[in-house]
Chain length 260, copies 2
């Protein structure tokens, strides 16, 4: 079908043009620019965004709209205005794959070194909901290893992870180098069994005061919250994690299929 079809539909098209409301143009432009910032689209220009006049012409919007859109991206801490330079990209989001189950260090290998500050590690009695999900024989009251880690990439805080592991496996983790290894890798090493699948749930929440402080993010910063229950390839659940990613540093990407 060609654009000539436009002429065959004069009524709805005209009506649409008439009823076109004042669009959320700044939001629209911010969405388009955010995408390019995240995809490294301005890297070849040294991270400098085009001049406001260039953006205005390219997107056919007013100067005011351009400024509002850039304000939105500044509020997200993706760009900054630098006198004499213009608007520059200051943050990079790292993409965590939704296509394959991987630990953080595995996923971000090409971007640098992941280190883990172990804030807490030790056995705790499993709350009923944890015992239930990890299918612990002892049920409520069985011991689990609880690990709380602040995870960094090249020294920058990325996520606060709260992890529960059945104690028979967890006991072996106590002697392991949790600072420099993904728990995933250690689990496979300890059990001699590959990981199989994980059920994940993603949400966006505002950071509470405490986790904002730990993540060195502003109070109420958007957090990409991931709950993940990981199983060994034999089906046994071995790792329940609550991951609080800094929203300004991590995105998750994947491919969805229409067919079941």
């Amino acid at each position: 079908m060609s654009l000539d079809r436009v002429r065959e539909h004069p009524a709805p098209l005209a009506a649409a043009r008439r009823r076109r409301l004042r669009a959320d143009q700044a939001l629209q432009l911010a969405d388009l620019l955010r995408r390019q910032v995240l995809a490294g689209g301005f890297d070849r220009d040294g991270g400098v965004l085009p001049h406001e006049d260039t953006l205005r012409a390219a997107y056919r919007v007013s100067r005011n709209t351009v400024r509002q859109a850039l304000d939105l991206l500044r509020a997200e801490q993706l760009v900054e205005r630098q006198p004499g330079l213009g608007t520059i990209v200051v943050a990079r989001k790292y993409s965590h794959g939704l296509d394959r189950l991987q630990g953080l260090a595995e996923t971000l290998r090409e971007h640098g070194r992941v280190t883990n500050e172990v804030r807490t590690v030790g056995p705790v009695p499993a709350p009923a909901c944890v015992a239930d999900r990890l299918r612990l024989a002892g049920g409520d009251g069985a011991q689990v290893l609880y690990v709380e880690r602040l995870r960094r990439l090249n020294g920058l805080p990325l996520s606060l992870d709260l992890t529960y592991i059945p104690m028979d496996i967890g006991i072996e983790l106590l002697g392991a180098d949790l600072e420099n290894n993904d728990v995933f890798r250690l689990l496979e090493e300890i059990t001699g069994c590959r990981l199989g699948t994980a059920q994940i749930t993603l949400e966006a929440v505002n950071a509470d005061a405490h986790s904002a402080a730990v993540l060195q993010a502003p109070r109420s910063a958007a957090v990409l919250m991931v709950e993940r229950l990981t199983h060994l390839s034999d089906g046994r659940p071995v790792d329940l994690e609550f991951i609080h990613f800094r929203g300004d540093r991590i995105s998750m990407s994947g491919v969805l299929h229409r067919a079941a």
Copy 2:
């Protein structure tokens, strides 16, 4: 391996117990309770959470920790305190699947009726980055149909969607009932071709003032932002969307596999 192994590792276990820092116990409890709220775990009790004393005993934490955890969930607008009743679940998050490419109405069919307030619909010249992703022959300047919709479930705002569609297909959408149909369904009807795959990217961002107002969410509310490029089964990209989900109303769930 049994829990007897604990006795074989006295040194690391004791060390771990000693160096157990003051944990983020409120956050830890909030994560566990959030999960149960979202999974409908308190539905059988009429949406009423257990009494503070019961939670304190069940999770072996102080009264103060219980209160802080409930405060966190209140701040996320998941629960409310009602005099004489206790803490009750007030929000429900709807789960959008990550396992299969579906429109919102398809996904949420069992939960109620999705309606779309079409805020803007009409042809616009495609910005270069849109033309590029939709592989438009005319490149920068080719027309695309731009659609902006506020999507509601049973009347409650769920998401603000900004959509770009190649004009040869878009022209047919102008006459369609966009208020009551997923664009996905209409695209398959118009083209006579099934949708194939979509590349998606998920992020957590803070709502700007404008989209917060449209979504009737608090300023700076956490937004689950989805960018999705959908292709027909023949590989042609036909639908570029920027979806701003209210973080307190939508979660996304799926299964990840370890093997490539």
